[in-house]
């Protein structure tokens, strides 16, 4: 009984982990290229969740169709934020960008609250499910999984096979050298910032395929913490590392939930949140370069 439950949970965790991973790629991309930590990460995912909510309730279409819209919204926000604020702070102490991205997240939360109130909302997009015997998976979750893997593969292809992607990798390696080779470093910064935020907002849409309820302006806080754990698992600077970090985190989160649920007197949900925080500290302490890389 317990094993069946555990294997079901782990399977679900792997599926959710792919979405988590995709949701963290933007964070790692921005940190890798600009050395800016997007502390408002969760707020951008929240915007994505509202995109799919509006697509479903407002336009009456399948919420997954909000994905390209969310990507564009995120990229637009990214360009605006980069050219008004971040560009002036690249050379400032880290404190400045930490606080600026944090404040931008707060602006997003408060703006959404103004438009959509702080009421928690959700939708019910039922397109059937598939029974694996040990666990049941709705097609919506399968779509989220497939979407995440597809986006991760696209990003991989873009970084390795296109000139634009390779130019961005050059900037990560050596921004001075990239400048000498005629790469417009300033534009690469802007592009990767907006691409990172585009990915983050888009991941909010995929997330609602998984958890279509509890959409409210302050939902992002928990995801910011999870994204940091995942990014640190993956080494913080690499988008692929982040993707695999997401898979690992999904497994650990759901696995630990099953274990905590076995211990009487514990609230498994809250303990899982606590566990992810402990995990963050432990990894930062012992493997600050991530699980996948050698020191």
């Amino acid at each position: 009984m317990f094993l069946e439950q555990l294997s079901g949970n782990l399977f679900q965790g792997l599926i959710l982990g792919a979405v988590y991973g995709m949701a963290t790629m933007g964070l790692s991309l921005i940190f890798g290229v600009l050395r800016v930590v997007n502390v408002g990460h969760g707020a951008f995912m929240m915007v994505g969740a509202y995109c799919s909510l509006w697509a479903f309730h407002g336009l009456g279409v399948a919420p997954i169709l909000a994905l390209p819209l969310a990507m564009l919204v995120g990229m637009g926000l990214g360009l605006i934020f980069y050219y008004t604020v971040i560009r002036r702070l690249i050379k400032a102490p880290e404190l400045a960008t930490l606080l600026a991205t944090f404040a931008f997240g707060v602006i997003l939360e408060e703006t959404i609250k103004l438009i959509a109130t702080s009421e928690s909302r959700g939708f019910n997009w039922d397109i059937g499910k598939i029974d694996f015997g040990f666990t049941i998976l709705p097609y919506t979750k399968l779509i989220a999984f497939a979407g995440s893997v597809l986006i991760a593969l696209l990003l991989y292809w873009w970084f390795n096979k296109t000139r634009a992607g390779m130019a961005m990798r050059c900037v990560v390696e050596d921004d001075q050298g990239a400048r000498v080779c005629g790469i417009n470093v300033e534009w690469e910064y802007a592009l990767s910032f907006s691409l990172g935020l585009g990915l983050t907002v888009a991941s909010g849409v995929l997330l609602t395929m998984f958890i279509p309820v509890g959409i409210q302006p302050y939902m992002g806080g928990g995801y910011t913490l999870k994204a940091f754990v995942i990014a640190v698992l993956g080494g913080l600077t690499s988008p692929y590392g982040a993707f695999f970090g997401g898979l690992v985190f999904g497994l650990l989160e759901n696995g630990s939930y099953s274990l905590f649920a076995q211990i009487p007197g514990l609230e498994p949900f809250a303990m899982t949140r606590f566990f992810s925080f402990v995990m963050l500290l432990v990894i930062l302490l012992f493997r600050p370069t991530g699980l996948l890389r050698a020191r």
Binding site: V39, L95, A103, E109, E110, G221, F260, G265, E267, L284
Partner: protein
């Protein structure tokens, strides 16, 4: 530097606090507003002691206030039938400081090994993590929190409990602000202040010069946390006579601390008080005229301050007073 000149910057700070206290006592109906303002000033000062002096941002700062509030709540609710009277409040204050220091040691042991962005990432989950530990493992009543108003009445009587939470709790916050002021100037004028100034400029260079940066970082971190513990115990636990985990670990108190320090000027003595007053007064009037919009106003203000005048109000005043007779009063 003579002692009089060394401690001259205390004058405007203590003057402001004395003025606030006098206004609160003499102008009827303004005590609550004054109490709120002093809370913000004290919060700014406590936060500034670490963030302002080191340049490290601790996003989980509110956790120290939270455990401080719990220290007081646990003490009062478990010692209420021992007949110790007001002594229990004293024990509660001590326990709140102990809790905050223990947590700061645990967090600092990991986070203070890290720098810049990594430090911020390590601390951002501390408040949430601790809140979920309390709720998840059902420590101290779990998510139901601790309500100890009846125990407090039993302990010191109805009248005294009433005046404790409506008046004396706020006076204690004044006390915490006073302690924070004294500690800040002692640190700034002492070896630790110069060491941390060097660290803020260039941590590697400071290390090479033989400064034990780790030691001074830890001292500033623990001091700042202990003050936060006292604030949580006085401004929250004693004043409200209840503690809920969802309230006392809310990240928006960290946000408020950041806004106050930035507005006033990070790393200055007078800054957090000026920032606290600006923030408190504008929040008060925003709540009257634009309820619910406070954060929507303050978040762009943070960005504007960072981009346009990162040195804050007091930093600008200091620049303008350079070379005048007033210079020695501004730090």
């Amino acid at each position: 530097m003579g002692a009089a000149r060394k401690y001259a910057p205390l004058l405007p700070v203590l003057g402001l606090y004395a003025a606030l206290f006098a206004i609160g006592l003499l102008v009827p109906g303004k005590w609550q507003l004054i109490a709120q303002l002093v809370f913000y000033c004290a919060l700014g000062q406590a936060f500034n002691l670490f963030m302002g002096m080191t340049g490290y941002v601790d996003f989980g700062y509110v956790a120290f206030m939270g455990v401080g509030a719990y220290g007081m709540a646990v003490t009062v609710s478990s010692l209420s039938d021992k007949g110790l009277g007001m002594g229990v409040i004293g024990i509660g204050l001590i326990l709140s400081v102990v809790f905050a220091i223990l947590l700061s040691l645990a967090v600092g042991a990991v986070a203070l090994r890290l720098r810049g962005a990594y430090f911020a990432i390590a601390t951002i989950g501390v408040n949430e993590g601790f809140r979920y530990l309390i709720e998840g493992a059902r420590i101290w009543n779990g998510s139901e929190g601790i309500i100890f108003s009846s125990q407090l009445r039993e302990l010191i009587g109805r009248e005294a409990a009433m005046s404790l939470s409506t008046f004396w709790a706020d006076v204690m916050v004044f006390g915490v602000a006073g302690i924070a002021t004294v500690l800040t100037i002692v640190y700034m004028r002492g070896k630790i202040g110069y060491a941390l100034a060097a660290l803020r400029m260039d941590e590697d260079a400071a290390k090479v010069m033989g400064i034990n940066v780790t030691r001074f970082k830890i001292i500033a971190f623990i001091t700042s946390a202990a003050l936060a513990g006292l604030l949580g115990a006085t401004a929250w636990a004693v004043k409200l006579t209840y503690v809920y985990p969802a309230d006392v670990f809310g990240i928006h108190y960290t946000v408020e601390a950041i806004i106050i320090v930035l507005l006033g000027g990070a790393g200055t003595l007078l800054g957090p008080i000026v920032g606290g007053l600006i923030y408190g007064v504008s929040k008060y009037y925003l709540a009257v005229y634009l309820p619910g919009f406070q954060l929507l106003v303050f978040a762009p203000v943070i960005i504007a301050v960072i981009v346009l005048f990162p040195e804050g109000t007091v930093g600008m005043i200091k620049k303008n007073l350079l070379g005048t007779a007033l210079e020695k009063y501004i730090l």
